[in-house]
Symmetry: C2
Subunit: 260 residues, 2 copies
């Protein structure tokens, strides 16, 4: 068994034994169930295995104590006030936290201010691939599905990323009080915007899953036993990736030296 | 001259002739002057050439007319209300736009609502490299400098990205009126937070520039005439990238199947 296959079986064993009784080392301890279908598709591919995943989430985080200026400081009493991967848990989240609303009052701001950050973060996947050919194939497929911030990292690990985000510092800690700079009505608007983003996120995840089902293998890794139908789907998919690469190159040329 | 060198000279010619009188195809038309020092360092490397760049910016964008749900819809009367790459142009930006402030009033929200988006976007660079070795070297150097969302795309183009962002939909268009869901005091807070992010962004850009100066070439592309001092700097830099890669691998293991 070569190094990739060894690593893959180790990871698959870990995944299959993972549960809330037997957590992994992540803060949450278990795999997001909404990720399981796409993880399954990826891991059924002979040249790929997922190494980390998040299906998308909303979080409200209170930054930790800062000794000097740090954005989003974790640790040192930084803590989640709310976090969910499920849109149905989102409505009225702000009613569960005791905020003092001070919308129109300018706030004293200094370097060590501990802000409260509202974030929507979309699906993110890291996938280890057998070789650079399969990493490139996965990368092109993800780009073609609109995961435009994807990239290949070291060891043929592909990061699949998109830009559907919200990143809103909306309050701070004053003494023991959680102060909101914005009204409850605005937090409701953020909630609605997050629900829209969840919808968009899951739509994109589904599109990617479909494309991955159709993706096939690289020429190099392909078994000789590809059926006619498999070949048709693979060709279709390769064509899509190629067209997308050309479109992207054109876009790059258009933007030339300036990223908008 | 091989393909890479041809492409590189064409790009360098384009850059050197670029000015507001002779704009490139980007919306702004010229290269951000704050990017010029780092672009110069990159382009002085025999195996690399920048294909797009943005030094970081604040933008306030009114989404275009939507026929159905689209986040951040460009085109169709979408327009910039404000944009700057320069922190010194930021203070009081909101005084130049006529907003109607309706902080505490819940807003009617529907699929075709045209939102006003406040964004801070950090430095982003795309760099075409001669081969996968030089792409990997650049990628590791960027990761080691904290550009954790970097990745290698197709054709050995490295995207250098970081996550210092703000992404705040804070108003909408009602008839001809630009409505703000938040108070002027909160827009002032966003301004202050953006200034902090500009500072952090430029600090990171400088760190990357320093690391790029010291980076040297890949073994494969190295000329035989490396001096002792050059070799020392290269080794130091390679060590840094290696340590960072190990740290990253550990972090990945720790996070296991869940990206927090």
């Amino acid at each position: 068994m070569n190094a990739f296959d060894q690593k893959k079986s180790a990871i698959l064993r870990e995944i299959s034994s993972n549960s809330s009784q037997s957590p992994d080392a992540s803060p949450k301890g278990t795999i997001d169930e909404l990720c399981l279908p796409i993880i399954e598709v990826i891991n059924s591919h002979p040249d790929m295995v997922t190494t980390s995943s998040c299906s998308g989430r909303v979080s409200v985080f209170l930054e930790g104590i800062k000794t000097n200026f740090q954005i989003g400081a974790k640790g040192n009493q930084g803590r989640w006030l709310f976090v969910t991967h499920h849109p149905e848990d989102l409505p009225m989240w702000y009613k569960k936290i005791e905020f003092e609303y001070r919308e129109s009052q300018p706030s004293e701001m200094n370097e060590t201010q501990r802000y409260i950050l509202f974030k929507f973060e979309p699906l993110i996947l890291h996938v280890k691939c057998r070789d650079s050919e399969s990493a490139n194939l996965l990368y092109s497929t993800a780009m073609a599905c609109g995961f435009r911030e994807s990239g290949i990292g070291s060891n043929n690990i592909v990061g699949i990323r998109t830009a559907i985000k919200l990143d809103v510092p909306f309050g701070c800690l004053e003494g023991e009080t959680l102060v909101s700079f914005v009204s409850e009505a605005y937090l409701e608007i953020l909630t609605k915007l997050s629900l829209d983003r969840f919808t968009e996120n899951f739509k994109k995840m589904d599109k990617l899953k479909e494309a991955l089902v159709m993706m096939g293998s690289t020429k190099k890794n392909q078994a000789q036993i590809e059926t006619k139908e498999e070949r048709r789907l693979r060709k279709m998919n390769e064509g899509l990736a190629r067209r997308e690469a050309i479109k992207e190159e054109k876009e790059r040329k258009r933007q030339s030296q300036n990223n908008e």
